[in-house]
């Protein structure tokens, strides 16, 4: 029998990490954040109370949900063409009810906090970038700790720093949020692109994936 790479525990972690090995999901999330930043930027420049501003507010959730759907499809299509022919295909188990409840709780919590800030008035909305930085940072930190990936820890730290810097800079809430999502989006997309470049250099597509 030839050498058996890695120990058993590491094999489990590597299976979870594999989804992030090519950097494609970070590129997709980065682009999604940039799209959100553009949508927020459009809202910020439109005259308050105008029909266009109202429509852009209505369109915002559609942009976010549509963007998430498109990002997922694009990542899967890119993996089919780039990743699976090089390093193989993995089908992951559907997340259990506990994780789905946790995601719903986080989403609901974010919505509740944002609604609370809106209700407090314009001055409270200035804290939104910091809040966004903390929440996104927490998600990145959790992902990093689960997968043992250093770049997620770095992204988490940058998310918090960016949110804090924008809030301290005193930008109006839409501009501040647009700056946060735009900045973090560019950073994540760049990190993902760098990871993809490394992945492409280290791997080659195989002509067949069948049994030997």
């Amino acid at each position: 029998m030839g050498p058996v790479s890695g120990d058993v525990d590491e094999a489990r972690k590597r299976a979870y990490r594999y989804w992030y090995e090519d950097g494609l999901s970070e590129v997709a999330v980065g682009c999604l954040f940039i799209l959100i930043a553009l949508a927020l930027g459009v809202q910020a420049i439109l005259p308050a109370g105008s029909a266009a501003a109202f429509l852009s507010e209505l369109a915002f959730p559609v942009v976010v949900i549509g963007g998430m759907w498109a990002a997922r499809r694009l990542v899967n299509a890119a993996k089919e063409r780039i990743t699976y022919p090089r390093t193989g295909y993995v089908r992951y188990r559907r997340s259990g009810p506990r994780r789905r409840w946790l995601s719903a709780l986080i989403g609901g919590g974010m919505g509740a906090i944002a609604a609370f800030l809106f209700a407090q008035g314009p001055a409270s909305l200035a804290w939104l970038p910091l809040l966004q930085g903390l929440i996104v940072g927490a998600v990145l930190l959790y992902t990093g700790s689960r997968l043992d990936l250093l770049r997620f820890y770095a992204s988490a730290a940058l998310s918090v720093l960016m949110g804090a810097a924008i809030t301290l800079g005193g930008a109006a809430h839409l501009i501040g949020s647009a700056a946060y999502f735009g900045g973090l989006g560019v950073m994540l997309a760049a990190m993902g692109a760098f990871t993809l470049r490394s992945y492409l250099r280290q791997t080659q597509p195989t002509s067949e994936t069948g049994e030997g």
């Binding site: 030839g2 299976a15 979870y16 699976y84 193989g88 295909y89 992951y92 994936t209 030997g212």
Partner: protein, 103 residues
């Protein structure tokens, strides 16, 4: 051999082999994986991997589905429910054995 250590011999010998344990551990973590992924993760040769997969399939722990992705042949391996149960039983059995080992 003491009674407590005697049941060490009852270990599942299909799983109690490093390469097959590694394969099953990888498959336990995911819904399924193709041959290329397993080849890369285990570091085995194609022949070795095929042989171990055949043994696991013979024991009813793994299903091997040969399909195509476009024109590219694909071999998808999945752990059966028996395989998952066997892995859990093996893990629990080893924990008990290790706990009872003298220091």
């Amino acid at each position: 051999m003491t009674g407590d250590l005697r049941h060490l011999a009852d270990v599942d010998r299909v799983l109690h082999e490093p390469a097959r344990l590694l394969i099953v551990t990888i498959l336990y973590t995911v819904e399924g994986a193709d041959f290329l992924y397993l080849l890369r993760e285990t570091g085995l040769t194609k022949g070795n991997l095929s042989s171990h997969l055949a043994r696991l399939e013979g024991a009813g722990y793994v299903t091997i589905e040969k399909t195509f992705r476009g024109k590219v042949p694909l071999t998808i391996c999945r752990l059966t429910e028996n395989g998952r149960a066997a892995f859990r039983a093996y893990r629990d059995h080893l924990k008990q054995v290790v706990e009872k080992m003298p220091e």
